[in-house]
């Protein structure tokens, strides 16, 4: 273990993980404390919805800029700015006196948090070789599943012990400070610019040949004119290749539908449990926790499967994941009052597992770095996340409009069928994605009996 953590890439990954974990602890603590905040600030349902919506709006709006700034100023500074900003906005939220103040601070908090995913993703893509990227990014992504599981056990006890939810905000605003220290100590934007890295580790990350060929100082692959102007591991990637890219566009659409299904499902699960399955509130709440547990397992297994079994192919994992979404959520649409609890848990575990095997759950950073270049992950991911956030935005009103009132209470089966349909759209988008390993779509590769295609990146990796 000591050997692993003496490697600079693992120190970087552990720091990026901690940043992503604190980000999720911080964003989910507001929801965990909502029962107390609603009572304290005398908020009604509409005002509560507004408070949550403004966070979401801030998060979505910054995505195109987040990617651009990450590539422009570098992931280290971007990560530090976002952690610093949301640490400060967290404590300002402890001083609100009404829901409008909370909504405004939630907007600023959302803007601050929105810059992190592109920075962390780009670091994982830059610091690991292709053969390890899937697993490395899977480790990074476990943070978003573990954070929501742990946050009720951190935020709520602090509030109850001190007698005020405001102290939870105060205490948690300090969680970002050790992460800032770790970013300062352990993160460097690029491996070859790190004074503490060894030649052996650089060889492992880039390969001897690539290291010999590239010594360039133009860090933005969109601004370089020749391959030898670039640092190792990068290739020329002009702006039009990033923003007019068929695969980025497909991921935008897939992200919209898969996060619509994911966010719609996990938001409404407890209500569905109470109103349709007639479960007690506490048991109904655990349906979401089980789905998050499935997500955690899915993220880890997805990375292992992609790197080891599929030899760094990414799109097959998403194809399987979207099919599982269709099956698991489609099956859940048949549940009625009296369904065995074990069956409900197993199905929603599978649904959580499946939603992690989509373009918004895992492997998106490795894929974008391989279809484009690691130096363009920030900008391309900004586009993809924007699509995903728009899907999240429409999920709530759409689900609400699809719930049918019956004599036995609300019926959610139409909403669940819509989530399953989102899985079908996600599958179609992923089927049309190029798989860089086989130079064509993965389904095309399978249907042609395993023949590789002719796709080539416009600029080869090696210098001429």
């Amino acid at each position: 273990m000591t050997g692993v953590f003496s490697q600079r890439r693992y120190q970087m990954l552990a720091t990026a993980w901690a940043a992503w974990f604190v980000n999720y602890l911080d964003r989910t603590k507001t929801a965990a404390l909502l029962p107390l905040i609603i009572v304290s600030l005398n908020m009604n349902t509409h005002q509560t919805g507004q408070v949550l919506f403004w966070f979401f709006l801030g998060y979505a709006c910054v995505q195109p800029f987040a990617g651009f700034f990450t590539d422009l100023i570098g992931p280290k500074k971007m990560l530090a700015v976002t952690i610093g900003a949301f640490s400060v906005f967290t404590w300002t939220m402890a001083f609100v006196g009404d829901w409008q103040q909370l909504a405004l601070r939630n907007l600023l908090f959302g803007i601050a948090q929105g810059f992190e995913v592109t920075a962390g993703s780009r670091l994982s893509a830059t610091w690991f070789p292709v053969s390890m990227r899937g697993r490395a990014f899977a480790i990074h992504q476990t943070a978003y599943a573990i954070g929501p599981i742990l946050v009720p056990f951190i935020a709520v006890p602090i509030a109850q012990w001190t007698g005020s939810w405001r102290w939870s905000f105060m205490v948690m605003s300090f969680f970002g400070l050790p992460v800032l220290w770790a970013i300062d100590k352990f993160i460097t934007d690029r491996p070859e610019r790190d004074p503490r890295i060894t030649r052996q580790e650089l060889n492992y990350i880039f390969g001897e040949e690539e290291l010999q060929a590239k010594h360039g100082n133009v860090l933005d692959p969109a601004r370089a004119h020749r391959p030898d102007e670039l640092p190792p591991g990068e290739r020329l990637t002009p702006y039009h290749e990033i923003f007019l890219n068929r695969n980025v566009a497909l991921m935008f659409v897939a992200g919209f539908f898969t996060l619509l299904a994911n966010w719609g499902l996990t938001t409404w699960l407890p209500t569905y449990g109470v109103q349709q399955l007639k479960l007690p509130l506490l048991i109904a709440g655990t349906l979401s926790s089980v789905a998050y547990l499935g997500t955690l397992c899915g993220v880890i297994l997805g990375g292992l499967l992609s790197d080891l079994t599929l030899k760094t192919k990414r799109t097959p994992v998403w194809l399987i994941g979207n099919l599982l979404v269709v099956v698991a959520i489609g099956y859940a649409s048949t549940f009625r009052q009296g369904v065995p609890l074990a069956l409900a848990y197993a199905t929603f575990f599978a649904a959580g597992f499946a939603t992690s095997w989509t373009t918004t759950g895992t492997l998106f950073a490795p894929y974008l770095s391989e279809i484009l270049t690691p130096g363009a992950v920030g900008r391309s991911l900004g586009v993809v996340v924007l699509g995903s956030m728009l899907g999240s935005a429409v999920a709530q009103p759409l689900v609400a409009s699809m719930v049918v009132q019956t004599p036995n209470g609300p019926d959610f089966h139409r909403a669940f069928l819509m989530f399953a349909a989102c899985g079908v759209v996600g599958f179609c988008c992923c089927a049309a994605l190029l798989e860089p390993c086989v130079r064509r779509t993965y389904l095309g590769y399978l249907l042609s009996g395993g023949r590789e295609g002719t796709w080539q990146p416009p600029s080869p990796m090696q210098a001429a």
């Binding site: 304290s40 402890a94 220290w181 650089l202 996340v385």
Partner: protein
């Protein structure tokens, strides 16, 4: 990425919860809520912000360049 806003179940549970004064809810006015610890809370926030600014300025001044290999 995935569910990007909040732990969704808590939102619904919060809305479904009975509107009763629970331990941890506290008064609406933050000054009244912090009570005698108001000054301490403000001091903590000033310290938090100064530490954040220290790290941001420190990292902003760092220049990364090609490193000599070991």
């Amino acid at each position: 990425m995935a569910t990007a806003v909040a732990h969704a179940s808590s939102v619904i549970m919060a809305l479904a919860a009975p509107v009763a004064r629970m331990r941890g809810a506290g008064p609406q006015d933050p000054v009244q809520d912090f009570g005698s610890l108001w000054g301490f809370a403000v001091a903590l926030n000033v310290i938090n912000t100064l530490i954040v600014l220290y790290f941001l300025v420190k990292m902003w001044r760092q220049k990364e360049g090609p490193a000599p290999l070991k």
